[in-house]
């Protein structure tokens, strides 16, 4: 019986510590993509799970959509009228 109590006490102490280190980031990644020569100014997801990113390069702005399964769903150039004030 003393042996059994010792084991239970050990488990109760180590369980919270195990929760802190139980995973790697790779285990939670469904997919990842790299899009060269672009950056993200802002991002949001719609109700269908599509990700929308406003991306800027040196001389242009683009609106990029990536679906929840990682496929491109839009890539639209943004004009000055759409990225700046137009009243």
């Amino acid at each position: 019986m003393p042996y059994r109590i010792t084991i239970l006490a050990f488990l109760s102490v180590t369980a919270p510590m195990a929760a802190q280190t139980d995973s790697t980031l790779a285990g939670h990644i469904i997919w990842e993509h790299d899009l060269p020569h672009l950056s993200a100014d802002s991002a949001s997801a719609d109700h269908d799970g599509n990700l929308w990113i406003v991306s800027s390069s040196l001389n242009s702005h683009r609106l990029i959509c990536i679906s929840s399964n990682g496929e491109s769903c839009a890539d639209l150039p943004l004009t000055d009228r759409q990225t700046e004030a137009s009243g």
């Binding site: 790299d34 993200a40 719609d46 929840s68 004030a85």
Partner: protein, 247 residues
């Protein structure tokens, strides 16, 4: 934004609606030169909040068509506002104080009235909402240019319900992100040895955490269902647009 020598000026903010088929409507100017309008939140009544950072802090409520419903200014020492949407068009905004280690929390109704206000000891923060509650990720400076990160949550009646310690001794000034997903919260913090990521249940219990020393930080954490996107969390030294879908 434009620069004149060493001075940087912010030219204002515009609003445009994106339809479900990906068609972007015409932009409408909602603010002129002044604060840096970096904060934006969709409210539960179809309106939107636009948040301007300092000189002074500005909160603008937009009607669904982008016209201004109301505009409020706050102290010029309130900076880097972050907002989360609550029920009936109300919202919670958290803003660090530029002059002292205080976070200002205000709960605003749909008409711009401040329903409740609290101050909390802290240095930097972000807000996220879950089922009517207002939850913050915030940091407090520790010794040696380090910061400790916490999460705390308030219920609908502004009671502080729970607080959990998220990460000790990250370096101050690191990038962090915070989002509410359908089953809890996700935090991403630039830790000393890489990206720290964790998911918490709605009542603050840790579900999982992970560290990745090959990555540095995430520029954005975007909630999507019970999962999320990480933007800008590519390998260290890589400066292209990197997108991760995770859960």
């Amino acid at each position: 934004m434009h620069a004149d020598g060493k001075n940087i000026y912010f030219d204002g903010a515009s609003f445009a609606r994106l339809s479900s088929n990906g068609k972007l409507g015409a932009a409408r100017q909602v603010a002129g030169e002044g604060p840096d309008y970096k904060g934006f939140a969709a409210l539960t009544d179809g309106h939107f909040l636009v948040l301007g950072d300092q000189s002074p802090m500005v909160v603008i409520n937009l009607n669904p068509d982008g016209s201004i419903a109301w505009r409020r200014t706050f102290s010029s020492s309130w900076v880097l506002p972050s907002a989360t949407a609550l029920e009936n068009g109300s919202s919670c905004i958290v803003s660090p104080d530029y002059k002292r280690a205080v976070l200002h929390l205000i709960w605003i109704d749909k008409y711009g009235g401040v329903r409740h206000r609290e101050d909390l000891a802290g240095n930097r923060s972000a807000a996220a909402g879950y089922n009517g509650s207002s939850t913050l990720l915030y940091s407090r400076h520790a010794a040696g240019y380090r910061s400790d990160y916490f999460m705390t949550s308030f219920d609908r009646k502004f009671n502080r319900v729970w607080t959990v310690r998220v990460l000790d001794s990250a370096f101050s000034g690191g990038v962090y992100g915070f989002a509410a997903v359908t089953d809890g919260y996700v935090v991403a913090i630039q830790a000393e040895d890489g990206l720290f990521l964790a998911k918490y249940a709605s009542m603050g219990a840790l579900i999982w955490s992970a560290a990745d020393t090959s990555r540095e930080h995430a520029d954005f954490v975007v909630p999507s269902g019970d999962g999320f996107y990480l933007i800008g969390a590519g390998p260290k030294g890589q400066f292209s647009l990197h997108v991760i879908r995770a859960r």
